[in-house]
């Protein structure tokens, strides 16, 4: 069941009706059952895995607080287990062919064996690891309620693609009384509406317009086309993911459960370090809290000097390599992670000796240059993220044949206007609910336009052109 579909919204409506009909003490049970039912729509196998991971991590929780016997071993076991499960499914395509070669001579029915990455595994495995670490550090209490813990793992609005919640605050929130009042309802509707506009109007339109062979056969395109369509892809990707997150946050709000924000106007970032604090925030913060900070702190403790090479390079590079690996298992993701890490190292270098000035107080030309550099860097980086390493080289080389070719017909970029406008309005007030400060009539007009746009763009089915050449 995909998130943006009539089936999903019908499912949410049904669960909502039952939710408010149920006594408060049984609402979490209902949500848990609904979450597993939702997960079942993907495959009957996925809930079994989730159940196993839930059971193991829940059982380990009480063994980890300070003072417990062998707690470090249990912590290591838990992290290894979670990573092993994630690694098994992520790397399956590497070893499955070998497995088939090994087992089929034995007469075992392994031909055509496929191991699919369970939907959401990449997200809930990170949540489980964070839970174990937080409990061992004393920053979270081990959960004593299996229903609340299982719900934290399986909660359907965030199950498929996050946000990656921290159980130290999420489980208490699930256990606490929840209130959905006018303000919560209004904010949830706002998130849902903005999310749908981003996803249905902007992202779906842009991403279907991007030529399918852009990142597989860049030689077919001129340098201008590569540039323009890469930009379209980035904006489409941003609105797709941001839209998805806002939709699930909106849906979750109707249940009185707040989910974390995942995007904070990343396209207005002034450098990559800031960008990674505005893009997929929950993942960035997870990487920061569980890889960057521990590693960096250990290195800085050993050598507190400002100019220490290891301190400056290892944390960002290793953290971004981990990010690359999380996103995918190809070499291109590793290269992407390494390059991103290098960029973040480079951004730190000037501050080693130069006076650090807030980006807002720098001269305008420096701000515009920084933004331009970020955009160019982002465009170049997205290539290695999407294409294999050799193809990325072809892509980058082709970009250097500037200016090449005529300006492509990119009228589809018109849908970027509402996306940038939404971001701009929110950015100016530094508030994702900026629209709520508008007068009621203006808000109503905006809502009507949004609803109509989502309906039309979501409904509009335009077949691929058929040009009959029967001559």
């Amino acid at each position: 069941m995909t998130i943006v579909s009539p089936a999903f919204f019908g499912f949410c409506a049904l669960v909502l009706m039952l939710y408010y009909a149920f006594p408060t003490r049984l609402q979490n049970y209902l949500l848990l059952a609904a979450s597993y039912a939702f997960y079942l729509t993907f495959s009957w196998k996925f809930p079994l895995l989730l159940l196993a991971m839930t059971g193991v991590n829940y059982a380990l929780g009480p063994k980890l607080p300070k003072g417990r016997l062998h707690r470090r071993r249990w912590l290591v076991l838990g992290i290894v287990f979670d990573l092993a499960v994630l690694g098994f499914f992520k790397f399956a395509h590497f070893f499955v062919p070998s497995l088939i070669r090994l087992l089929s001579p034995l007469g075992l029915p392994v031909e055509g064996l496929k191991i699919l990455l369970p939907v959401g595994l990449s997200f809930y495995s990170l949540q489980a690891i964070a839970y174990l670490v937080d409990v061992s550090r004393g920053q979270a209490a081990p959960s004593r309620n299996i229903v609340d813990f299982a719900l934290a793992m399986a909660y359907f609005p965030k199950l498929v693609a996050g946000p990656i919640e921290r159980f130290r605050s999420f489980i208490p929130a699930l256990a606490a009384p929840r209130v959905v009042d006018n303000a919560v309802l209004t904010r949830s509707l706002t998130l849902l509406t903005v999310g749908l506009v981003r996803k249905v109007v902007v992202a779906d339109t842009l991403l279907t317009a991007v030529p399918s062979k852009l990142f597989t056969n860049p030689g077919k395109f001129s340098s201008l086309e590569l540039l323009i369509w890469s930009a379209a892809f980035i904006v489409g990707l941003y609105n797709d993911f941001a839209g998805y997150t806002e939709i699930v946050r909106g849906v979750s709000g109707f249940f009185g459960i707040e989910l974390s924000r995942n995007f904070a106007f990343p396209l207005f970032s002034r450098n990559f370090t800031e960008f990674w604090n505005r893009w997929h925030i929950t993942l960035s913060h997870w990487l920061r809290d569980y890889i960057y900070f521990p590693l960096s702190r250990a290195l800085v403790r050993r050598n507190p000097g400002r100019f220490n090479l290891a301190n400056l390079t290892l944390p960002p590079i290793l953290t971004m390599l981990a990010s690359g690996l999380w996103h995918g298992t190809g070499w291109n993701f590793m290269i992407w992670g390494f390059l991103m890490g290098l960029v973040m190292v480079a951004e730190q270098i000037p501050s080693l000796w130069r006076p650090v000035v807030s980006p807002d107080r720098r001269p305008a030309w420096r701000r515009y240059l920084a933004t331009a550099a970020l955009l160019v860097g982002g465009l170049l980086a997205v290539v290695i993220f999407k294409a294999s390493a050799p193809t990325a080289l072809v892509f980058w080389k082709r970009l250097l044949t500037w200016p090449g070719g005529a300006f492509p017909d990119s009228r589809v970029f018109l849908v970027m206007i509402p996306a940038f406008w939404i971001d701009w309005v929110q950015y100016r007030r530094k508030d994702e609910f900026a629209f709520l400060s508008w007068p009621p009539l203006a808000r109503a007009a905006l809502l009507a336009v949004a609803a109509l746009s989502v309906f039309l763009f979501g409904r509009a089915q335009v077949s691929e052109p058929f040009i009959y050449q029967g001559f």
């Binding site: 550090r137 921290r166 569980y290 900070f293 403790r301 006076p355």
Partner: protein, 82 residues
């Protein structure tokens, strides 16, 4: 160590070792993280400094803009733990 001492020590460290601007009039409420003055690496250095010079451990999960964005917030946090 009282509040004034902690504030002075932190201010000197931040201005000299992080911002390279010893004479800068850093206000206690000036946003450091959201203002783009300090990044994650600088936060770690501040945390290690507080650990070694003031004797208070700041957990990784508290090294965030929500809790450590201004000098005043850092000092308040340290005072609360002290």
């Amino acid at each position: 160590m009282d509040r004034t001492d902690i504030t002075r020590k932190l201010r000197v460290f931040i201005l000299k070792d992080i911002l390279n601007r010893p004479g800068y009039p850093l206000a206690e409420d000036e946003p450091l993280i959201t203002g783009g003055l300090i990044d994650s690496h600088a936060l770690v250095r501040i945390a290690v400094f507080v650990e070694s010079e003031i004797g208070v451990y700041i957990p990784d999960t508290d090294l965030s803009a929500e809790k450590m964005d201004t000098l005043r917030q850092i000092v308040d946090w340290v005072m609360a733990k002290e």
